[in-house]
Symmetry: C2
Subunit: 292 residues, 2 copies
């Protein structure tokens, strides 16, 4: 199939490469010309604009940073909407606002273009190994058309619902991960402040109802005081900002999610933006002056 890939950062580059390896003809565009070089070398076609890439594709993928970036890639001069043909599909794999996503889907539909939102989890390792989890929103028949392409990039691929539902699922994922990190941070700090070996507490808790991937993976980072990412705080904060803006639009209170967002804000203020978001532990420790 002819596909376009817009956004060639740490995630987009290996994803585009996996589509190429799966035998598809890949037209790429990145804001920085140098981002296209390794893909052109691998056999993809570098394009001067997103429109030019989309013009040649049956399916155009977008993988950029935030809502405003997707809006620009889609609708600015030289954007996807000005190149993509009626009957083609635009798949936004960025993590952005669900409400903005629904708006974009309507705008594209008016031009005869179908849209899927398909944010991912699994990080750069998942992107390289084609093991991303992909949460999809859009029409079932459009999902079925794009599914073989998703399978070249990911493993756990779920159609959650209509346009925006993929972004909603991703937002839910980020809420649960953020608040569970805080839960584990508070519990392990409680153990240490009581003079009890937090590692043994983690062991005792792993098998029971307190057990989770977060207790396992992020709990280990906390015990080791090693916040090598993983998933950077600045990115998790960006995602929680989407959650908070959407909750505000909806008139929905999310008390603990909002609280953990504040702890991520604090990390941004203490120069910890590049650390794994398990570093929320550092805020819990700092609040009460718990020493390492």
């Amino acid at each position: 199939m002819n596909v376009a890939f817009i956004g060639l950062g740490i995630m987009g580059r290996p994803m585009a490469l996996n589509l190429h390896k799966a035998g598809h003809t890949v037209f790429v565009h990145g804001r920085r010309p140098e981002s296209m070089a390794p893909l052109a070398q691998a056999g993809c076609t570098a394009c001067a604009s997103a429109a030019e890439a989309a013009d040649q594709a049956d399916v155009t993928f977008i993988m950029v940073s935030d809502t405003k970036d997707v809006e620009q890639v889609l609708f600015s001069e030289g954007g996807v909407a000005h190149g993509a043909k009626p009957g083609s599909v635009v798949v936004d794999m960025s993590t952005i606002s669900p409400t903005a996503t629904r708006r974009y889907a309507i705008d594209l539909q008016a031009r005869g273009i179908d849209m899927l939102d398909a944010p991912v989890s699994g990080g750069d390792v998942g992107a390289i190994n084609a093991t991303l989890s992909i949460m999809v929103g859009g029409k079932p028949e459009v999902f079925e058309r794009v599914k073989p392409l998703f399978e070249a990039m990911g493993k756990n691929i779920v159609l959650v619902g209509d346009n925006g539902a993929g972004q909603v699922a991703k937002a839910c994922n980020q809420i649960v991960v953020a608040v569970t990190i805080e839960a584990v941070a508070e519990a392990l700090t409680f153990a240490r402040k009581n003079g009890v070996d937090a590692g043994k507490v983690r062991d005792a808790l792993m098998g029971g109802f307190a057990g989770s991937r977060i207790l396992e993976v992020h709990g280990k980072r906390m015990l080791d005081n090693n916040y090598q990412p993983g998933f950077k705080t600045k990115l998790h904060q960006k995602d929680m900002n989407i959650v908070m803006e959407t909750a505000k639009e909806l008139g929905l209170a999310l008390p603990t999610a909002a609280l953990v967002m504040q702890h991520m804000n604090a990390l941004m203020g203490t120069g910890d933006a590049e650390l794994d978001s398990a570093a929320v532990m550092k805020v819990v420790e700092r609040i009460s002056g718990v020493e390492r």
Copy 2:
């Protein structure tokens, strides 16, 4: 071995019975005489006081409701401390204050009696099936002496540290469970308020970093709007109260644990004390007027 068992409620009764079944001679005492009848029938010896039971035992188990109950069972007239022989062991399996536990251990030590704290998780089903998780605090050599008795009542038996460490681990367990319940409740409410199928979101999240026993078990209860316990809100609230009192003693802030404690307080005020603590979901829904 000769053992005593004080406290024959929904947990204590099957636990005492499992010790009896394992071939030990069990002396029992319960506040309500009728609580002793089924155990006497099964072959245990009913005693008029905790002291009388403890007097005949190498190891005395206590399984009552709260800190003040343990204090009374131990030190009031007719209490365990007035019967237990020097060289014997007192094992408190109730969930109570870690700091009070350390104090009781010192008081008992002064009388030549060793103490273990050994709170459990797994509920009445775990008590009946002898599959409780047992988190133990105390001296390793005392733990080794009592271990075969623990093995008649539970499966995942961990010595976490010194006196009080078992209670600390149990408190950590209750923090993580409470806050993770809230995390899942907020995420699933976010999904529904966005018009997205919360069940599909749960499916999409199960395999990834948001995955946990709580998302699986308590998430299901939330989706079904069925809060049949499980573990009752009033008991989880009691345990969170221990957490909050201990945090206050230690000068430790636990922001999200404190917030979820408020949601449990709210459930107590709306007549939901007997529901599973996954009913924290109802508070999250009520706050923003989310209808079922």
